[in-house]
Symmetry: C2
Subunit: 389 residues, 2 copies
């Protein structure tokens, strides 16, 4: 059993979305296919995944560094001990041959796309959904109850716009979401506070509205927002400062009694270790948002979870960045705190397949094999393009 | 005045070098050319640089993300205030448009190649060597005395080899070096200690031999080596552990009274800030080795130096990784503690041009304009290939 070919496609995100820091209209994502020599109904079984959303496709690193290492490795070194599955750990380790330590940036999402495709491939070989396959592989109980999901968005609307932030969130509520996240930092503090008050009118329970500063605040702004936001029953205050500025985060955390969330821009276990050691975060309160698809895949993410657990964080405090099918399966398998969704945006990758059920703020993966990316209509053409013989 | 074209070439390192962690025979470097519309003697003035050594060429990131942003920017936004030079700062900032914070890995060396080529271009426009141009731009006195340089190498030789480590270092001494660095961690501790003793026989003064573990040790190994190395008058003990494991570094530093060196695998000012805050390093003693060519270029490196200074480190404690012409000019311009050289290896990029003078352990840049890469015979064909009309 071997991998015969690794294919990739850089896919542009659709639409004109932007947050306080970046314009996503130029963003791309790497869709990757691991083609195996195992055939079913005349077709090779192919593992498919992508490197989450928000940090660009990695065609260069994948083509120049990762593919030659994996296709150049001895077949059996990429298999599980019983030789019945591929080993995502061994595939990730092989992809990293001759790479120096440190510098966990673009490389981490290039490796992630391939490592996650190995999980999809294994789940397809086993004929089961990825959430069930991951749970079984890790000796965890088969999950049944779906997972909490919140709708992220909360964009800025021009003053004369007919649509308001409240309309947007009420629309999410109609879709079945009962927890939300909105942007802050794109307007002066007093307008942002009015927006938070407006958004709270869409909520039915306390601690169901989060705010996200996308890592843009200076020390002064972060602390001003912290003091002002403290009056509201917020779910969390996200990325108040540079994601690597642990000392500043610790200062902000000391001045803010509610939950803080961060981690989507940390891509390794050692960075997570530094965050939990030096960032002043509080076990049993704050939220960790590392995203396997940007961080070398599920193998490294499991190390991050171990680091988090040793620092006093429970799985329910881990809520990955990246609202898409891959993270839905991972969150469900591991019993983490929840998933995000960006209804309608970050297409073709964002969101879930129509066969996934959204009910009372919980989302349930379908019973498609693997991550079920094939069920997502927006991805269909790209997957066809990648898997055509 | 504008940049008309940005060209790049991925160049393989020659030879079969490997350290305790990586095999460099598969390594590549991005050689980059910024072509201007300023003509001299019928030829466009072209800035040339590369992204140091050891972390791979970045053709994908440069082509897909950086070049379109820079060539798409309004001409005047890339110029200095007086419009007589290009602005390396503005070019680096433009290259980073729509990039999220954090994740300072491969992207950092892609941006560096372009930012450094802008310095080469500016020095050529001014008709002066890069060291003089950088010093003048930063309002520093024109440097005259060259800069200390040490020979790095100290490889492992088979027991029956006719050449020994001592021969290697004595050969460096004959070339004009009086300070050396050798590898450790590729053999058991007792053999490594014998190697250190042998190497010390090539030195004529204390504190002229450094040892490099390339970030590979576990806690136990790092501390064992630290205790055992303490008996020797070493210049420094380099990268004992994972370059991002600040807590472990602090522990190792507490147990080792001599100088520790690290930083070559940190690629941003915020990572440097974390190192100086949490790594237990001692101002006025330990050595910082961040490398501008891997870390967004000289603009970010100046921020790193500021962070280091605020943490109590003097310029003489900053000795960048990467023994090549670009760092020679930067170290000379800024009056830093020294340069490294890997005599004969990491070609075609490693080492200096024949016109650079090596004397009593100091190296003097030539008076070629820019970084003088055109004077390096090993680079000639590649530069010709890149600059042909």
């Amino acid at each position: 059993m071997r991998i015969t070919e690794i294919r990739q496609l850089s896919v542009n995100l659709r639409g004109k979305l932007r947050n306080a820091v970046v314009d996503f209209s130029q963003h791309t994502v790497s869709l990757v296919a691991l083609v195996s020599d195992v055939y079913r109904r005349g077709q090779p079984i192919i593992g498919i995944a992508f490197n989450s959303i928000g940090r660009f496709a990695q065609p260069g690193i994948i083509q120049d560094r990762l593919i030659p290492r994996i296709l150049g490795a001895k077949t059996e070194t990429l298999l599980s001990d019983d030789h019945r599955r591929f080993s995502p750990q061994a595939i990730a380790r092989t992809a990293m041959l001759n790479e120096k330590p440190g510098g966990h940036g673009d490389r981490s999402s290039a490796v992630a796309a391939i490592e996650l495709a190995a999980w999809d491939l294994n789940a397809k070989l086993a004929g089961e959904p990825a959430y069930a396959h991951i749970a079984r592989t890790l000796n965890k109980p088969l999950p049944t109850g779906g997972t909490p999901v919140y709708a992220a968005g909360g964009y800025y609307y021009p003053a004369k716009s007919k649509t308001t932030l409240l309309d947007e969130l009420l629309n999410y509520r109609d879709l079945g979401y009962n927890s939300f996240k909105i942007k802050i930092g794109g307007a002066p503090l007093h307008s942002d506070l009015q927006r938070v008050e407006m958004a709270l009118r869409a909520t039915q329970h306390p601690n169901t509205l989060a705010v996200d500063a996308n890592g843009r605040f200076t020390r002064e702004q972060a602390n001003q927002y912290g003091s002002a936001l403290q009056q509201f029953p917020l779910k969390w205050y996200e990325e108040p400062c540079d994601p690597l500025d642990y000392a500043l985060l610790a200062e902000i955390t000391r001045g803010y009694t509610g939950p803080i969330a961060t981690g989507e821009n940390l891509f390794s276990a050692i960075d997570t270790h530094n965050l939990t050691q030096f960032g002043g975060l509080r076990g049993q309160q704050d939220i960790l948002q590392m995203d396997p698809g940007l961080a070398y895949g599920l193998t490294e993410y499991l190390q991050m979870l171990k680091v988090a657990e040793q620092a006093g964080f429970s799985p329910s405090q881990c809520i990955p960045h990246g609202g898409h099918l891959i993270n839905l399966h991972i969150v469900t398998a591991l019993g983490l705190g929840g998933c995000e969704a960006y209804p309608g945006v970050f297409q073709p990758f964002g969101g879930y397949a129509p066969q996934c059920r959204l009910e009372d703020g919980r989302i349930f993966p379908s019973d498609a094999v693997g991550f079920g990316l094939e069920q997502k209509p927006e991805l269909k053409d790209f997957i066809n393009q990648l898997t055509e013989v």
